[in-house]
Each structure stands twice: as C-alpha cells, then as structure tokens.
C-alpha cells in the first residue's frame, strides 16, 4: 500500500540496528583495515536502502512507530517517524555514505592514528543520529542527543594532542553541560506542565502555560540544545576544528550541529506548535538573538585566516538562520528552516571535504596560503565553489531554497529585522567565501596539478553535484517540509 519493502517498524528498528552492528563489526575487524572499511561501507549502504524504503512509506503517508523501552509510567523510549525526522534521517543516512567513502581516502591519505576508534565512534554517532531523528518523544530525543555528544567526544579528541584534549573538554562540557542544565529541566518542566512528552503535530503546550513562561521555556530549549551553537554557546564548534576533516564533516553536516537545530525546530513545531508561538509571541526575542549570532559569526569568519575556522563560524552563522526561521514560527519559515537543514548539510560537507582534500594534498590550512590552489586541484576547488555559492544562497545551488522561504516568511510577517539580517549576512557570506575562490583560481599556481586521493575527489564531487541537484529537484525535501506543517 505504501510501497515499502519492509514494514515500517522493521525499518525503524533496522535504522538503529545497522549502525550499532556496524560499530561492533568495526571493532571486531580492527586488525583488518580493508574488511573494517568494507563493514563501514556496507553498513552505510544498507542504512541508506532502509532509509529510502522508509522514505517511500513516509511520503505515502505512513507514520510507523516503535516503542523500545518503557522507562516509567508516562515515560518511554519510543520511535515515531514524522516528516521532519524523516528529512533529517535521510540527510544523515545519505551523507554517511559520502563521508565513508571520503574518510577512507582521508584517513589513509593522512595516515591518521586510531582509525578503528574513528570508524566505530562514527557508526555510533550515526546510530545516535538515527535515534534522535526518529525520536517519538522528548525523552528519547534527549537520550540520543546525549549519546551523540558522548560518541563524538573520542572523535574530537582523535589526535590526542594537548590541543585536541582541550577542545574535547570544551566540547563535552558545553554540550553536556548545556543539555543537563537547560535542556533537561526544560523537558521535565514540559512534562510537569502537560504530563506528556510525545511529539504531536501542532504541539501540545497551547493554553497550558503563559506567554512569559513559554518564552523562558523556549529559551531553555534553545540554549540547552547547544549543538545549535547559538551565541554565546558557540565556542565549542570552532574549537572542535582540531579534529580530522571527516570528523568536522560529521560535526557540521551529517549529525551534530544538525541535531541541535533539528531539536529546536522539532520542539518549535511539535511541542510548542507554531500557531501557539505565533499567537503568544513567545519566540519573538529569539529572532534577535539568532540574528545577532548570524551577523556576529559572519564577522568573525571574515577575519579568520584558518580555513576550517572560517568554515566553522560560517556554520555558526548558518545554523542561526534555521533558529531564526524557527523563531519566526510561521509555516513558511519552518519550511525554510527544514530545507535549510538539508541544504546546509550537503553544501557544508562539500566545503569541508574540499578543505580536507586541500590539506591532504598540500597540507594547506590557511586561506592566505591557498593562492593558485584551484589551478592545481580544479575538481576540489570547483566543488568548494559550488558549496560556497550555496552558502551565499545563489541559484542554482541548494542554499537558495531555504533562504527563499525564510525571506518570504520574514517579509510576510513584516519582520524587517530578520529581512535585514538575511540581506546583510548574505553580503558578508560572499565577502568571506569569494576571496578564497578568487585567490584559488586567479593567483598563479606554484606546482603541477595534483588532486587528492580518488576516494576523496569522488566523494566531494558527489556532494557538490548533490548541492546542485537539490536545487533542481527539491521535491522530496519540500514535500516532507510541507507535510511537517500540514500544508
């Protein structure tokens, strides 16, 4: 009926089981690198197939659910697909495939240590992402949110250097700390107010709590989900840049920061309900906070010479687009937010792939050292260019999609602050990305053409192509985003 090969429940279970088994297999195959990587690839492909199957069902209207554990009366660990979760699941599963291919090239090309740890923790992080995306209630979401924080800590500290350990401490303390101090009380408060934690279309807090308290509660959620890196809880992200590039890609594109904005978006849509926020105006303040983050992070990016740092602040800025759109709390805005999650994922992973590729081939990390690199690594830098154009939001790239809806929403809501922020930040985005491209292609090359290992080039070409494809064929994410708000 729904065109699915597997039953919905089976798909849900498999989405968790496959990456978990992959982690075990990777550990078991630690001594056989080729088999170990094969395990990663096979698992990634298997997960991809399962998710595509699930997607067919969700597009046809199925909403499978699965209870994993019954924690206590009223509290359970349960999965329940909704369109937004499906979108995130699909993004993460797809990018896991690309990232696995890329990782093999990168980890071997740079002879990185502790590769088993890398692949195993990566698989666990995917496991956590699947659980988080498919979570049926806040408790489940929180559980997987924390697993994600913990499983990525070994990745951030993969280099084990003093700097890496420091970054790891900041990473863990910020993410766990914020989630404990703010997110957990927010969830418990929600439970105390409403007696339920199950996500519901349209939210379930309407009328149960006053506008001021609702604004406070929203604040707890937004800052509690520090993975969304809303200022001032953004410092962990640039610090985590010490990790190898595939890890950065995981943090910025596949899972971690997306988990943050996903949480916020999910809470806005399925806990508060956008209509409730709209009528109470409880999210108005957040537009300003997110807007400030967008602009301030862009300025920092503008002044950063380290390429990955520049990309990191670009992420901080882009994430707050999503948060700002969520705060606008109109159907159009949250559609834009959902699309921007997809668009940012595929373009930012392209940018990081390219940065890692440049590092692998040339050991260049500074923007100022990238003169002529585009002439030497045309594929890599062409992909970088596409990713950068997407960050700016130019057609024909995916970045256009989200901005389109956000601007329409901001204008429709007559929120001129938001419109102004998008305009200014777009120019700033261009101001910190274009010089890299110009430098790379226009300055004379100081050596022969020498691309990074094939696996990396294949991966980054694929994601760059995805960035354009998503623009040309936005149908599936758009349908999911619309279904999310029921229009």
């Amino acid at each position: 009926m729904t065109g699915m090969l597997l039953s919905g429940e089976a798909s849900l279970a498999l989405a968790l089981v496959i990456p978990a088994l992959a982690a075990l297999a990777i550990i078991a195959l630690a001594r056989h690198p080729n088999l170990r990587e094969a395990a990663t690839l096979v698992a990634a492909l298997a997960l991809f197939i399962v998710v595509v199957d699930l997607l067919t069902g969700v597009l046809a209207g199925a909403r499978p659910a699965l209870e994993l554990a019954h924690l206590a009366p009223g509290l359970s660990i349960a999965l329940h697909v909704d369109p937004l979760g499906m979108l995130f699941t699909a993004i993460a599963a797809t990018l896991w495939v690309a990232n696995s291919v890329y990782s093999i090239g990168y980890m071997r090309g740079n002879d990185e240590p502790r590769q088993t740890t890398f692949y195993a923790c990566f698989a666990i992080a995917i496991f956590a992402t699947m659980g988080l995306a498919l979570a049926g209630n806040l408790l489940t979401l929180f559980l997987f949110y924390e697993i994600l924080s913990l499983s990525t800590y070994p990745l951030v500290t993969l280099k084990r250097s003093r700097e890496a350990m420091r970054a790891g401490r900041i990473y863990l303390l910020t993410l766990i700390g914020a989630s404990m101090i703010l997110l957990l009380p927010a969830i418990i408060w929600t439970y105390a107010i409403s007696g339920t934690l199950d996500f519901a279309p349209g939210g379930f807090l309407a009328g149960r709590v006053g506008p001021e308290a609702m604004a406070v509660l929203l604040g707890l959620y937004v800052f509690g989900a520090a993975k969304a890196a809303v200022m001032p809880l953004h410092r962990w992200l640039p610090n985590a840049m010490v990790a190898p590039t595939p890890v950065s890609a995981l943090l910025h594109a596949v899972a971690v920061v997306k988990a943050g904005v996903f949480t916020i978006l999910k809470v806005v849509v399925s806990v508060f309900g956008i209509e409730t926020l709209q009528t109470t105006g409880s999210s108005a303040w957040l537009v300003y906070v997110a807007g400030f983050t967008i602009i301030a992070a862009s300025f920092v990016a503008l002044s950063a010479d380290d390429l990955k740092r520049r990309l990191a602040y670009s992420t901080v800025s882009q994430l707050s687009y999503i948060v700002m759109a969520a705060a606008l709390a109109t159907p159009l805005a949250v559609i834009g937010a959902a699309l921007h999650i997809a668009a940012h994922a595929v373009s930012k992973i392209t940018l990081f792939f390219a940065a890692g590729s440049v590092y692998t081939a040339e050991h260049v990390t500074k923007v100022s050292a990238m003169d002529g690199i585009g002439r030497r690594m045309p594929w890599t830098m062409a992909a970088f260019t596409i990713g950068a154009l997407s960050m700016i939001g130019l057609p024909p790239t995916a970045g256009f999609l989200g901005k389109w809806f956000m601007l329409g929403a901001a204008g429709g809501a007559a929120n001129w602050f938001a419109v102004g922020v998008i305009i200014v930040s777009t120019v700033l985005n261009a101001a910190y990305f274009l010089p890299i491209i110009f430098r790379a292609f226009m300055k004379p090359a100081n050596g022969p053409v020498r691309e990074a290992p094939l696996a990396m080039v294949v991966a980054l070409t694929a994601t760059a192509a995805g960035t354009i494809l998503l623009f040309l064929l936005p149908d599936i994410p758009l349908r999911l985003a619309r279904a999310m708000v029921g229009v």
Partner: protein
C-alpha cells in the same frame, strides 16, 4: 510457616551466618557460609518485599509481646526496598570478596572478615526492619562496630587511622541518637514508632521533643555523612578493602538515610518550622551545599577511590534534597536514588577495586590508558560514571528526573537548575577519570596490569548492567520508590503540629 517469621529471619540469617563463619575459621568455608547466608537473606528480603507490595505493611511481634512492651518488627513500603537493596548488595559484595580478599586481607583474618560482613549486614537489615527506636540503636551499634572492623582490616596503614576516626565519629553519632531516643521516650513513654506517632498529638509541650529531634537528626546525619559532617567518609572509603568499600558505600549511608526519612516524615514532620526556618529548608540548604562542595572537592582528587567517596557525599546530598523537597516526585526521586546510587557506586567501587588489585594503584595519574588493558573493568567504571552524571539511558538519569520533577512541581525552577548544574560538576570529575583511562597513552602500571578473574568482574558487571537496565526500564524501582514515597507522605499528616 517460615513466611510468617520472615521479618525476623531476614535479620537472623546473616547474624547466624556470621557466627557460623567465625566458628568455621576456614577461609573457603567462611566464604561459602557467607554466600549461602546472604543469598538466603536476599530471598527473604525479596519475599518480604513481595508480600508488602501485595498486601501492605507486615507487623511482627517478637515473642508475641504487645508493641508497648516488646519489640515490633515492621516491614512496610518504606523499609521493604531498603531491605531488598541491602540484601542484594550484600550478595554482590560477598561474591566480589572471594577474590579481592586474597590480595587485600591477611589470610588469617579472612574468615573474620566474612563474619564482620555478615554481621554488618545483619545490623543494617535490623535497622530497616525494626519498628522500635531503641532496638534500632542496638542494630546501629552492631553495624557500626562491624564496620570499624571491616575498615581496619585494610592492609593500608592509613586504614587503621580511618577506622579509628570513624569509630570516634560513629560513637558520637550513636550517642546523640540514643540521647534523642531517650528524650523521645520521656515524652511519649514508648519506643515503638507506631505508638509514638499515635501519642504525639497528646503532647502539649513539644520542647523535649524538639531537643530529641535535634539529637536524633544530628546523630543520624553523622552516620549518613550529611555535609558538613561528612569528613570521616572519604578516608574510610578510600582505605577500606575494596569489597568493604563497595558494601558500605551502597548500604550503610542508605540505611541511615532511610532512618532519617522515617523520623522526619513519620515522627517529627518535615515541614514544621523550627524557629525561623523549616526543617525541610535547613535540610535543603545542607543538601545543596553537599552537592556542590563535595562535587567540587571530588574534582580535585587524584585517588579515584577518594574521588568516588567525595562523589558519594554529593550524591547523598541529592537524596536528602529529594526528602527536603517533600512532595511525591521528590521523595520518589530520593528513594530511587538510594537504590540507583547504591548500584552505580557499588559498580564503581568494585571496578576500581579490580583495577587496584590488578594494577596496584588507584591513583589517577598512574592509571593512564588502563582502558586498553582492562577494558571490562574500565567499561563498568565508565557506565557507573555516566550514571553519576545522570546521562539518559542510565539509572542516574531516572532518579535525577524525579528530583527535578519534584523541584518543578514544588514551583522551584531555580532548584531544578541547581540540581542539574551540580551534575555538570559530575561531568567534570567523571570526565577526568574517563579521559585518563581511555584517552591517554598507557602508563607503566597500566601496561603491567594483569587479567582480572571473573569472580571479581561478574558482580561488577551485574551492577553495571542493572544500572543500565534500570535506566531503560525503570518500572520496578520506580514502583518501589513511589510506594515508599506515598507511604511516607501519607503518614506525615499525623506528625507534630
């Protein structure tokens, strides 16, 4: 037939087991006696818990005497979980002791050690089972004396000092307690809890009662290491033999907390104002201080056992905080945490004990990379650590959930934030351990660590597994804890005006 005598059997079984073990004078035989006795005790406790959950409180009169004259054993929803917990931890600690004593105890004293463990168990169980204030004092002394011995049996010379310190402090506590009980008796003319509660409304001048309360509460507070009366605990836990530490950390303080709850809710009334502040507020202030000060102290420790000991002080703060919140969710949280903390701290101390036995050190800086050579023990320690933080999926999360829920339902969002904020301190001290044992290059000691026998690891792993089990399916402990909370809050209506 036996079922009717279960309330007293649960105390007598370990007591006689202890005597037998002392008589056997043979290490191996003593172990088996202890094991059988403790398993029998656990069975008895489980049966009792089942009866209570099914049919309500059980009253047992020793020798058939009327409670006004004789001693009543009373098992209800509040004490049943404690009995179950103590008995279960007893089994785990004894299984664990089989191998740990071979390294930590002089062979001639091993049988004696098992005896002391059983007697200590008997004392603790007695405190929980008895419904008679003075009888509780007797059991308190029994458990304390055996505890001093257990600590003193540690090979480290500092263990003797720690035992001595605990002896002094424990004696002060017991003395305070017995003075309080005396005052209570003077006021009410009875030592039976039920009768005391019945007669309370008739008392016109509560001054003596208030003095009794002061003595009893401070006395118990010393035993449960309530901040700032906690200073004996770090040394005692750090230098006691591993199995003793595991037993004490997961039972002794918990029973004291139970006693405190009993007195505060059933007898004195927790919401009552003494002078300008209520008892609850004072307890809350001390609990918060414990949570933060002890967690901070834990961060700066280098010896993992001491670190965990400070962590215990902090975690006891959570429990007393739950009592101080004094609504159903809060007290449920407190009782949940009594059980969950026992499991996780038991696992943690057993794991570090295994590491200590194998690698010869419990110092943080000497155990770098121990996760490489002892993955199972380090894994158990990790699970316990995550539970201490309150990571979801572990039992620590569930108890924290109820505590925060209690705070929010009491309309105190700030308190909720403080509770979770202090668990961030746990992130720091647990994080230190995890970083060192997993993410550092192995140190010399770590590389030389030998394989650990299964009998050490099995109870450790069982406790760690339970920590996760109760984190994912908390139905059973929550049911126990919430009926305990309901029982406590239900009787507190009859407390002092």
């Amino acid at each position: 037939m036996i079922a009717a005598h279960l309330p007293v059997l649960v105390v007598l079984l370990p007591l006689f087991g202890g005597l037998l073990a002392a008589l056997s004078r043979h290490n191996e035989a003593a172990f088996w006696i202890a094991l059988v006795a403790s398993i029998a005790t656990l069975a008895a406790a489980a049966a009792l818990a089942g009866q209570v959950m099914a049919g309500g409180p059980i009253s047992y009169r020793i020798g058939g005497w009327d409670p006004a004259l004789g001693i009543e054993y009373r098992i209800d929803a509040v004490s049943a979980p404690i009995l179950l917990l103590v008995a279960a931890m007893g089994v785990a600690a004894i299984v664990y002791a089989r191998r740990s004593v071979t390294v930590e105890i002089i062979p001639e004293r091993v049988a004696w050690y098992y005896t002391m463990m059983l007697i200590c168990l008997a004392g603790l169980l007695g405190m929980a089972a008895s419904g008679d204030a003075f009888n509780i004092f007797v059991f308190l002394e029994i458990s304390s004396l055996s505890t001093y011995t257990l600590i003193a049996l540690g090979r480290d010379r500092r263990a003797l000092l720690a035992a001595y310190q605990y002896l002094i402090v424990g004696t002060i506590g017991a003395t305070f307690y017995v003075i309080g009980v005396g005052l209570l008796y003077l006021s009410t003319g009875t030592l039976n809890f039920g009768l005391i509660v019945e007669r309370l409304p008739e008392i016109t001048s509560p001054r003596a009662l208030i003095a009794a309360e002061a003595f009893i509460v401070v006395g118990i507070a010393l035993k449960l290491a309530l901040f700032p009366l906690h200073a004996w605990l770090p040394n005692a836990y750090a230098y006691a033999p591993s199995s003793a530490t595991a037993l004490l950390a997961s039972t002794a303080t918990k029973v004291a907390v139970y006693l405190l709850a009993r007195y505060l809710f059933a007898v004195f009334g927790i919401q009552r104002s003494v002078g300008p502040i209520s008892v609850a507020d004072a307890l809350m202030a001390l609990s918060l201080l414990a949570m933060f000060a002890a967690s901070l102290a834990a961060i700066f420790q280098n010896d993992i056992k001491r670190l965990l000991a400070f962590s215990s002080v902090a975690q006891i703060g959570y429990i007393t905080l739950g009592l101080a919140i004094a609504n159903e969710a809060g007290v449920t949280g407190a009782f949940l945490h009594i059980m969950n903390h026992a499991l996780m701290k038991g696992a943690a101390f057993m794991a570090i004990g295994a590491i200590l036995i194998s690698a010869g050190s419990s110092k943080l800086d000497e155990l770098a990379g121990i996760g490489r050579t002892m993955p199972v023990a380090a894994g158990a320690l990790t699970v316990a650590g995550l539970a201490l933080i309150g990571v979801p999926g572990t039992s620590g999360f569930v108890s924290k959930w109820y505590l925060v829920l209690g705070a929010i339902e009491a309309g105190r969002l700030w308190l909720a934030i403080l509770i979770v904020a202090s668990s961030v301190l746990a992130v720091l001290y647990v994080g230190r351990i995890l970083e060192v044992i997993w993410f550092r290059e192995p140190a010399k000691r770590s590389l030389e660590a030998q394989a650990v026998p299964l009998s050490l690891l099995a109870p450790t792993l069982v406790l760690a597994a339970l920590t996760i089990w109760f984190g994912l399916d908390a139905g059973f402990p929550v049911e126990l804890a919430s009926s305990a909370a309901k029982a406590l809050l239900g009787v507190s209506k009859g407390a002092l005006p």
